[in-house]
Point group: C2
Chain length 173, copies 2
Amino acid sequence: MRNPDELASAFRAVGLKVTPQRLALFRLLHDNGSHPSAEALHLAASASMPGISLRTVYQTLSDLVAMGELRQMQLCAGSARFDPNVDDHHHLLCDRCQSVRDVYVDGLGAVTVDAAAFGGFRVRATDLVFRGLCAECTECADGAADTLDPSIRATRPGSPHHHHITTTKEATS
Amino acid sequence: MRNPDELASAFRAVGLKVTPQRLALFRLLHDNGSHPSAEALHLAASASMPGISLRTVYQTLSDLVAMGELRQMQLCAGSARFDPNVDDHHHLLCDRCQSVRDVYVDGLGAVTVDAAAFGGFRVRATDLVFRGLCAECTECADGAADTLDPSIRATRPGSPHHHHITTTKEATS
DNA sequence: TGCGAACGAGCAACTGTTGCGAATACGGTC
DNA sequence: GACCGTATTCGCAACAGTTGCTCGTTCGCA
Ligand SMILES: [Mn+2]
Ligand SMILES: [Mn+2]
Ligand SMILES: [Zn+2]
Ligand SMILES: [Zn+2]
């Protein structure tokens, strides 16, 4: 994604106006490697632009995506992530804290897919995502899976379903 | 994913009951290569099990996922897809009709990532998704992008201009 | 056959995103 | 610098997908 000034020109060039809200988002996104969600950007933007609407954030992000300045991805359940890095690259996704990092992969061409397997499919892009645990989560969290998001803990097979377990403390006699 | 009978035993073995609703889903999923959504399965199940609740479909799918019999994936915006094929494999995703096909890739180990780039990240799984157009969509749809999902063309009402759609040739080599 | 725990259905609630409309601000022009 | 047409902002409603909750029902073991 280009720098805020260039984006401003690009917006005007296609008839889009440059507002303070948009400028704030241009600045927040430029060189941002955190792959933020719309909500995260809204939160960050609210610091310098109190009252900015989440709706406006979505609108501007969608404009940037349409202009090819921003990449939108759905790496996991939940909100979409936005990436100002539109170069050819791939991602590391932490299963615990959902952080995303860029990674540059060599030799994807060497990935030989049985040609017949494509059966007429015309490949336009190749998305490679390494899932696992980021350095931080690996360190402080081998048994402590509840450090960050306890909600993602799944029902362990073998134990009764959560959907019948009451959270109110009833007599567990 | 194992066959319906084996799944029934596996369910009982961990204290889960085997109901007609669950059996219907076991059968629908077995050897199902369409990577259906919960809603698609609910629709299909309703044929043989009228009145089955979407809630029940979600519950059973989540049980199967927890038992490692089913894989859940979020390939794009919208609903999650479920895959009874839990072997190591990858996917072709059609950008237009959203169909998903299995693909078996050799040489992913040869994908050499600059070791420093991982910086402590511990990879647990590698997801590779080829996006593009499936055979059907390639055929009947070069300029007719509205054959299946007109909603993706939506721009703002009254928007006088259209953004250039650059079919950037992705150098996967 | 009887019992208790697990379950299904229905609906409410919730998250993330988009549609809509009235008031407002941008930016080219005078 | 003021003017004006149109794009924009914002708030709220609506929407899609998913999960929580509750009660009457059913499964599965004894
Ligand atoms: Mn990136
Ligand atoms: Mn598959
Ligand atoms: Zn992490
Ligand atoms: Zn297709």
